[in-house]
Assembly symmetry: C2
Homo-oligomer: 310 residues x 2
């Protein structure tokens, strides 16, 4: 018998990749989220079984269950993923990230079945970092409302897991990238390269840990098996730190004609300087990312040219 | 010109005492909460200026402001104060405690004025305690959803205070008691003494730090002046640890005829063993509790007899 999984935010960047990965692995995938009929059609092509166009609320979850059947797992990809949004719309960011998590956990608590819950968190929970690579046990000093809200999501997961024996796994995703992402550094870079002004905020020396969205999706799918009432928290990264300058230089070299990035020299408020994930906990569970960065970047640039035009 | 303060949960135990204290100090006190017309009448006798029968939501706060005027301070006494409730109704406990705090902070953020916010938290945030007395810097290991939710409230306070310069003060109240409290240990004790069965759950050796509600109310009022964008967190206790057996022996001796407490010997899940507040941070700000425990207990027993009958 195939198993059923609910994916919230299924029309989103990480959500839609997670739908594809799960469908390919034989799961019956039920999508919940906002995206419209066109997105729903696209998700069906990726293997989605059923689509529910709705925000994630307790009532909506009961309705989805009554129409699509009880899930064996829920992967909660819904919610904002933007530090900047949390600074202008902190209440909406909180409601979208935290209250949806609360309702999923409450749905599972009130359900008779034993449902595994996977909650993507973010490296933003670490905030000010004093030691690289960053272990999951590092102190949390978030520097944005988004980082705080992600910690709150994790605390709710731990509280529900411990109090009611719900199997949960939290994955702190680092810099997830890949074809289809119409925001953040690579999107900006391709837009700027197209416009002919390849200049950037920051120093270029900032280090990030990049994880391709197919690897992130596979990790979230694997995390169903990692879930337990102990609520393990895992870094979702590659364990490799790459500077922004290095990334943008690679993208610039892929352009035709080639472009070279320049930097403003100022740091952006709310963004930390250097991030590299300690992935020993992840590796101990047998997970290793598979997409090579240069390949992932080339694929992104190719997608951008095909979709947006050069 | 008198200053205006909103007190949420004004009809509650701590809220109503806070209304009286603030009114006596010359504040124009606006009450927000649930309680009905009888409670509103009682609050007016305590000096309440205006009453709004409503849950605490962002919309309600805008309405109160438009009708009663912009506040100089908000003391957020609304929300559940029960560990047991959080174990059976975790979602409602979260919404009542955390989302109301979110809406107050958001109201202040969106207001042009500079409004001081005082948020009562709880010693339940400490959970498992390894060192007495408990400093505000002690690690937080909550053992109930209630304790987790109170930490979340505190995190929101810190996030908003830091990000938008809002003056906030968090007060972690220990065991607040006093005439009018129709639940918890003293209420149970008086009910049991009335019924003639003075036996209790637990060992009797559990230590608590008791703070009379008049002292708690005065502390919350003082905390308006302690508020700052650094969001100070202060223990609200006496600094004196008293065993449950000692408390109940005192209550039993006040009964006529005297009764002596007996104990089951089992510990209650979700309750910590020993709590004493480190009050050095509180004392450094010039605050010292004034109600002597024996006097407070005698007053409670007298109130119980007058209200409930013996």
């Amino acid at each position: 018998m195939t198993k059923r999984v609910f994916v919230t935010g299924a029309a989103g960047f990480i959500g839609s990749n997670t739908v594809r990965t799960l469908a390919e692995s034989g799961w019956t995938v039920v999508g919940i989220g906002l995206g419209g009929q066109e997105e729903a059609k696209h998700l069906r092509e990726l293997g989605l079984h059923a689509w529910f166009e709705t925000s994630v609320t307790l009532d909506a979850l009961w309705r989805v269950e009554s129409e699509a059947g009880s899930p064996d797992a829920i992967i909660h990809c819904a919610g904002s993923g933007s530090v900047a949004y949390s600074m202008t719309q902190p209440r909406q960011d909180f409601l979208g990230n935290v209250n949806t998590t609360l309702d999923i956990l409450e749905f599972v608590r009130q359900s008779s079945g034993r449902i595994a819950v996977v909650v993507p968190s973010s490296a933003a929970v670490y905030g000010v970092v004093h030691q690289l690579p960053i272990s999951e046990d590092a102190p949390l000093h978030p520097i944005s409302p988004y980082g705080t809200h992600k910690i709150v999501m994790e605390m709710l997961c731990k509280s529900y897991a411990k109090q009611w024996g719900i199997p949960v796994c939290v994955v702190r995703l680092f810099s997830v990238y890949g074809a289809g992402l119409r925001k953040q550094l690579l999107w900006d870079a391709c837009c700027k390269a197209t416009a002919g002004t390849f200049s950037f905020f920051g120093t270029g020396a900032e280090i990030r840990d990049w994880l391709h969205v197919r690897d992130a999706a596979r990790l979230l799918a694997d995390a169903i098996n990692f879930s337990s009432p102990d609520c393990p928290v895992l870094n979702g990264g590659s364990g490799r730190g790459i500077s922004i300058r290095e990334i943008l230089t690679t993208v610039g070299n892929l352009w035709n004609p080639k472009v070279t990035p320049t930097f403003s020299g100022e740091a952006r408020s709310g963004d930390p300087a250097h991030y590299i994930a300690d992935v020993s906990r992840l590796n101990a569970r047998g997970y290793v990312p598979s997409v090579i960065l240069d390949q992932g970047l080339a694929e992104y640039v190719e997608w951008f040219r095909a979709e947006v035009g050069a």
